[in-house]
Every structure is written in structure tokens, then in C-alpha cells.
């Protein structure tokens, strides 16, 4: 497995990794395969998720397509940013795709998600089209928040953002879980935060109340190693984030392995519905800087980034796994790749040419229930618009 990954990575480096699947061309594919994951680490749990995961060809194709779409979408977003078509903040998810895709695979659309500012990938897996994500980034009315939200504020059904305030989404997520429990629904909320946010006080307040009230909430620390430019070791006196809920049980999972994340999430959903909150630390990495203004090389080396791309990349590794298992052929991978490039390319073109909302929309959706006749003031006293 390690050798396979290594060889595959070498091929990738020479820009031919898609064609470089270790085994030769398969004329037929298997219906399912079994995958062994890096062992989980457990905190206050007698039993953990399974380390042997059986999955189907359809699942393999779906997870590959989703992860690859996010990767291409984020690369495209980076290019649109450099072309000054995307403004302001833009935090890319490249490197972390296995977490969103693996978690979504183990929940239903009736379960809820809230995440932090690195939200594009999550928005996509929650059902928003690539076009609607990119158009939100370009501020166009076809964006999922019609251009009013931007990079950090995207929403969908049972997807509550996209929150730009580091740590704030964690108690919000516990509150969403409370609503599920209150309404007697058999659903959960996943509240995601980074290793940087893991030191925010309100996270510990949320753990405490979630445990007191047995809320069906999975707290997920996406540990990508850096809170902006501060490494986990320089920010946290304890870097075993899966243990930091103290009385809340925890699981460490390889966040670069979509199947491991999926299985950990399946286990966690089952657990929280029966016993209250659990914590997952998903070990991952981000390839880009913290945001577009950060080259991402002053606090880590280019070699480090390159090594992760070669040895731990969630998409490259998964490609090797599914091709080596005869679930998917390299030709199919190539075909999917081409389809994604076209889909994202077309979406990018639309998100450049779609119009922005008209200026009057500045004054809409300040209140859902404005008092009759209430007018909203513009920049001077001559501008006063009826609230809608």
C-alpha cells in the first residue's frame, strides 16, 4: 500500500498520475472491495469504528468525482482570485476534500452541517452546484446567497454556513443539534472547526452543554496543522485534539482517507444519537496558504507541502486504492476527470458573465418581517427604500 502510493505519487509528480495507476488496464471491474484504514485513536471509547471497510464501485466513483470536483473547483477559484474576479477573502479547501466527502457519505440530507470560513467544498457536497458556489465567489446573483454572502457565507438546506467568526459555528452547531433533539428527529448536526479555532473558549462551553444535555452533535476538528501561520504545536498546549473534549469521547481519524472518514462518521452518528456528543479529529493538510493573501511558505517549507502532495494526497491515494482494487479503471478516471474539467470550466465562465443583483437588492432581506412602511436609509438622507 505504501509502495503503491509512493510509486503512484512519483508518476503524479511527472503529471501523469492518472495514467500511472500501478496495475494495468482492466477490461472489467469488481462490484465491491475492502479497504484497511490507518488505525483510529480512541478517547474514552471501548470500541471504535471498523478498520476494514467494504465499499462498492458506485461509492468509489461518487467519492472520487466529488473530491476531484472540489479540487478542480478550488483551483479554478484560486485562478479567478488571481485574475481579480473574486474579491476579498477566499480560503481554499484543497487537500481537505476527503473530510467533506467522507462525512457527507455517512449522513442524510436531513442531518445538518455548520462549518467555518473554509466552506466551498462543504457547500458543494450539501447539494449546491459548482456554478452556484463559483458565482457566489464572483458575487453574482446566481450564487447560492445571490452574491450577498461571499466566500465564507454560503448556505443550503440543512447547511448553516460558512461562518466567518473563528469558533462561533461550534455553539451554533450544538444549538442546531438541540433543535433536532427537541423536535424528536433522528438527525444530528456536525459542527466543524480547525485546529486554530480549537483553542477558542466558546468551544469548551459548547462541549460542556452538549454533554450536559446529550445533544446529537459531532464536533469535528479539521486539523490541517496550521491556524493561519501558527502551527498546532505553537498554538495548543495539547495537540491531541480528539482528547480535548475531556468528558466527551473522541476519535482520531486519517482525514486524508475518505473511507476512514466515512466509517468514523457512521460510527459517530450512531453514537451521538444514543449517547450525546462525540469529537472527531480529522488529520489533514491544506496545500494553499491560509487565504489568497498568504503564499503559505513563511511558516512551513515548500518541501513539506510537496511531500504531503506526494505521500498523503486524499485524491491520489484514493485513485490508487480504487484502481488497484479493480473497482474503477484508469480510463474511467480519465473520463470523469475530463467531465469535471468541462463542468467546472463552464461554471467558471457563467460565474464571470452572470450579472450581479441590481442595486435595489442592497435593501432586501435585512428583516424577514419589517414593520409596515419601514424604510431603510442609504448613504445619505435622500436615499430611503421600503424594506422588503
Amino acid at each position: 500500500m505504501i509502495l503503491a502510493t509512493f510509486v503512484s505519487s512519483l508518476k503524479r509528480q511527472s503529471n501523469s498520475w492518472v495514467l500511472g495507476a500501478i496495475q494495468g488496464c482492466h477490461m472489467s471491474t469488481a462490484a465491491q472491495a475492502t479497504h484497511t484504514v490507518t488505525p483510529y485513536k480512541l478517547h474514552r471509547l471501548d470500541n471504535g469504528p471498523s478498520t476494514q471497510i467494504t465499499y462498492t464501485r458506485e461509492e468509489a466513483l461518487k467519492y472520487y468525482r466529488q473530491m476531484r470536483t472540489i479540487r478542480v473547483m478550488e483551483t479554478t477559484a484560486g485562478n479567478l482570485y488571481k485574475a481579480k474576479i473574486i474579491r476579498g477573502f477566499c480560503h481554499l479547501y484543497s487537500g481537505q476534500e476527503a473530510i467533506a466527502v467522507g462525512m457527507e457519505a455517512s449522513i442524510t440530507p436531513e442531518d445538518s452541517i455548520i462549518t467555518a470560513y473554509r466552506a466551498h467544498g462543504w457547500t458543494y457536497v450539501r447539494g449546491v452546484s459548482v456554478h452556484s458556489v463559483l458565482a457566489e465567489l464572483t458575487g453574482r446573483k446566481t450564487g447560492c446567497a445571490h452574491g450577498k454572502g461571499g466566500s465564507m457565507h454560503m448556505y443550503a438546506k440543512n447547511f448553516y454556513g460558512g461562518n466567518g467568526i473563528v469558533g462561533a459555528q461550534v455553539p451554533l452547531g450544538a444549538g442546531i443539534a438541540l433543535a433536532h433533539k427537541y423536535k424528536g428527529e433522528n438527525n444530528i448536526c456536525i459542527a466543524l472547526y480547525g485546529d486554530g479555532a480549537a483553542n477558542q473558549g466558546q468551544i469548551f462551553e459548547a462541549y460542556n452543554m452538549a454533554k450536559l444535555w446529550d445533544l446529537p452533535c459531532i464536533f469535528v476538528c479539521e486539523n490541517n496543522g496550521f491556524g493561519m501561520g501558527t502551527s498546532a504545536e505553537r498554538a495548543s498546549a495539547c495537540t491531541t485534539y480528539y482528547t480535548r473534549g475531556d468528558y466527551v469521547p473522541g476519535i482520531w481519524v486519517d482525514g486524508m482517507d475518505v473511507l476512514a472518514v466515512k466509517e468514523a462518521t457512521r460510527f459517530a452518528k450512531d453514537y451521538v444519537l444514543k449517547h450525546g456528543p462525540i469529537l472527531i479529529e480529522a488529520a489533514t493538510y491544506r496545500y494553499h496558504g491560509h487565504s489568497m493573501s498568504d503564499p503559505g511558505t513563511s511558516y512551513r517549507t515548500r518541501e513539506e507541502i510537496q511531500e504531503v502532495r506526494q505521500k498523503r494526497d486524499p485524491i491520489g491515494k484514493f485513485t490508487d486504492v480504487i484502481v488497484n482494487s479493480n473497482l474503477v479503471t484508469k480510463e474511467e478516471i480519465k473520463k470523469i476527470e475530463d467531465e469535471i474539467k468541462k463542468e467546472v470550466g463552464d461554471a467558471a465562465e457563467l460565474s464571470k458573465s452572470d450579472p450581479e443583483l441590481p442595486a435595489e437588492a442592497l435593501y432586501t432581506h435585512v428583516y424577514s418581517n419589517p414593520p409596515p412602511g419601514y424604510k431603510i436609509r442609504g448613504c445619505d438622507d435622500t436615499i430611503s427604500v421600503l424594506a422588503k
Partner: protein, 363 residues
């Protein structure tokens, strides 16, 4: 907890005195047959709305088994149980965030801050999580939450427990901010706030909880609502307009009574809602009286009175003014503990009487 007990004790003691004063000056439904304290008005509003809608629940520190630090939620936990009335640990930021999350996901939380001074620990969730989400999502996510608790100057509790946050919260688009005065206001506006689909900051006054008001039969009804975003003219008058909110409305009525004895008729406007502000009612009054004094318990800088003064300047009502607008506000200092100093920091009727005489050019 010693501090909290002191706060409650002080509030209760002072409230009795205020109740007496208030009955003398109250003009609201004075022909009504019923007496209702602000505390009971709030309690019945909560009780009725919990009964009416299963998605309404209360959470906060000591709201359940302790019956509320100020007894506003008295009896509700016994009646509705753990699910509907939830005690939280002393973690404002955490429970305010949980409340907002629950609202986003379809519940109608009433989030009590033991006092608004402690809401500073949670202000990020009030503003960034509650107020802005409907706009950021362009209408996809509503946040039907009520934050409530005592606000404004208390009695003898020092600087950290005595402050008005009306101006702070009323600056924020997306929030509705209510600052009621009477029992009628408190009942009807809290019920409207709980039923509203937008986030509401509901600012009660520590020293008003024990104050009794005469109310009409309709106020006792389960269907009694007061509209958000409308002022109430508490006392009509022709010579000068007094605008205020919360407890200082009572101070204005006291001053108006004193001035009436001298032949000066004040029109007293109770703002009720600070945002959206019903400035039209103020403009119409100023066009009639040609004089305006704005009174508030909060600090002068960037305050409600300052904002109303600016709105008058920008409105046609400005041309009807016969004298500059004057402000009577809390003194521009942190609240002192000592009794005499504290009295000097809070607007009194004498300050209003003096201001009225000045705008009218009287000695």
C-alpha cells in the same frame, strides 16, 4: 452569587418605591380595573407564548429551578418542565450561540441574560450570528430568537452592573430592539417579539420589575399584542415634545406633571421600539409643539438622543423647531456606587424641567 443576591435585593427594594411613584404618574389605561406589575406582565407573556407554540423555549442562567434571578420566569419550569425551560451554566457566549443555532434550525428560543451587562460576553452571537444571517443568506436562514433581560442603571450595584445597551444594539441592522416602559408595553411587546421571525433584543429595566400599572382588561388577554416599531404617545401636549424609552419615560411623565402645574403642556412619547425607530411620530409631534427634549438613561455620546437629534435635523420637522433640540442623558461617566453620586449620574425630573424651560426660553 453574593453580588447577584444584592442586585436582586436592591432591585426589589427600589421597585416598591418606584411602584408607588409610578402609580401617581401613570396615565396608561388609568380607567382600567386591573393592576399589573412589569414582572407579572413579562411572566404572563412568557407563559402564554410557551403554551401557544411548542417551538418556544426559554434558556438562561437560573431561569428554571431558581425561578429566575429576578423571578421573571417564576413557576414556568414547574409548569412546562426541563425541555421548555432550561437552566444553563454560566457561559453566556456558549448558550447564546446554542440559542441562535436552535433558532436557525427552526425553534423559537427566548434567551435570558441575567442582566444585559453579561450579554457583552455573548455580543458576537447577537450581532454576527443572529442579526446578520438573514441578510448574508439573502433570505435563506431566518433567526427567530428573543434575547431578553434587565438593562440600564440599577441601584447601588456599581459600574459593571449598571449600563444601558439600547444605543449599542440599536445600531445594528437586522436586529429589532425593544425598550418597553409600562406593564402593557412589556406584555404586548414581549409576545410580539416571541412571535416575530427576526432576532429581537428585548431590554427590560431592573428597577421596573416590581412597578405596578393600571391596565385594561384587554392587556390581560392571551391575544394582546403591541406592534413592534411604533411609539406610544403617553401624554398629549402642545408646548414641547419629550421623547424617551424605558424607565426614563416615567421620569418624563413626572416632569410633565410638574410643568403642567406651571401651565406648560408636554407631549410625552414612549419610543417602545428603538429599532426600527418610529421617527415619523416624533416628527409629527415636533411639527405641533415646535420644541424637543430627548431623554434617556444611557450615555450621551452616540446615544438614542443624539440619533433622534440628527434625524430631526434631516427631516422637515427641523424647520418647525423654535429652539435647538436638547438632550437629557445619563452622565458621561461609569456608574458610581455611592448613593449621592449615583443620583447625579441618572437623569432626574429636575433635569428635564430645566431643559424644557431652556428650550422654551423661560427663566
Amino acid at each position: 452569587m453574593a453580588t447577584l443576591a444584592a442586585v436582586f435585593g436592591a432591585a426589589t427594594k427600589h421597585s416598591k418605591c418606584m411602584g408607588y411613584c409610578s402609580r401617581l404618574i401613570n396615565t396608561t389605561f388609568s380607567r382600567g380595573a386591573h393592576q399589573l406589575t412589569v414582572r407579572d406582565a413579562l411572566n404572563s407573556a412568557l407563559d402564554e407564548e410557551l403554551e401557544r407554540d411548542n417551538t418556544v423555549f426559554i434558556l438562561g442562567e437560573e431561569v428554571a429551578q431558581y425561578d429566575g434571578a429576578y423571578k421573571v420566569t417564576r413557576g414556568l419550569w414547574k409548569k412546562f418542565g426541563d425541555k421548555r425551560v432550561m437552566d444553563t451554566p454560566i457561559t453566556e457566549m456558549g448558550f447564546a450561540g446554542i440559542a441562535v443555532g436552535a433558532a436557525m434550525a427552526g425553534l423559537r428560543p427566548v434567551c435570558e441574560f441575567m442582566t444585559y451587562n453579561f450579554s457583552m460576553q455573548a455580543i458576537d452571537h447577537v450581532i454576527n450570528s443572529a442579526a446578520k444571517t438573514y441578510y448574508m443568506s439573502d433570505g435563506k436562514v431566518t433567526v427567530p430568537i428573543v434575547f431578553r433581560g434587565p438593562n440600564g442603571s440599577s441601584a447601588g450595584v456599581g459600574a459593571q452592573h449598571s449600563q444601558c445597551f439600547g444605543a449599542w444594539y440599536s445600531q445594528v441592522p437586522g436586529l429589532k430592539v425593544i425598550s418597553p416602559y409600562s406593564a402593557e408595553d412589556n406584555k404586548g411587546l414581549l409576545k410580539s417579539a416571541i412571535r416575530d421571525s427576526d432576532p429581537v433584543v428585548f431590554l427590560e429595566h431592573e428597577l421596573m420589575y416590581g412597578v405596578s400599572f393600571d391596565v385594561g382588561e384587554e392587556v390581560l388577554s392571551k391575544d394582546f399584542l403591541v406592534p413592534i416599531g411604533k411609539c406610544k404617545i403617553e401624554r398629549p401636549g402642545k408646548d414641547v415634545t419629550l421623547v424617551s424609552h424605558s424607565k426614563p419615560v416615567g421620569t418624563c411623565l413626572e416632569a410633565a406633571k410638574e410643568l403642567a402645574a406651571k401651565g406648560i403642556e408636554c407631549e410625552v412619547i414612549n419610543l417602545r421600539t428603538l429599532r426600527p425607530l418610529d421617527d415619523e411620530t416624533i416628527f409629527q409631534s415636533v411639527i405641533k409643539t415646535n420644541h424637543l427634549v430627548v431623554v434617556e438613561g444611557g450615555w450621551p455620546q452616540c446615544g438614542i438622543a443624539a440619533d433622534i437629534s440628527a434625524r430631526i435635523m434631516e427631516s422637515p420637522a427641523f424647520n418647525y423647531l423654535d429652539a435647538p433640540v436638547l438632550r437629557v442623558t445619563g452622565a458621561d461617566v461609569p456608574m458610581p456606587y455611592a448613593k449621592t453620586l449615583e443620583e447625579h449620574a441618572i437623569p432626574q425630573a429636575k433635569h428635564i424641567v430645566t431643559a424644557v424651560k431652556r428650550v422654551l426660553g423661560l427663566p
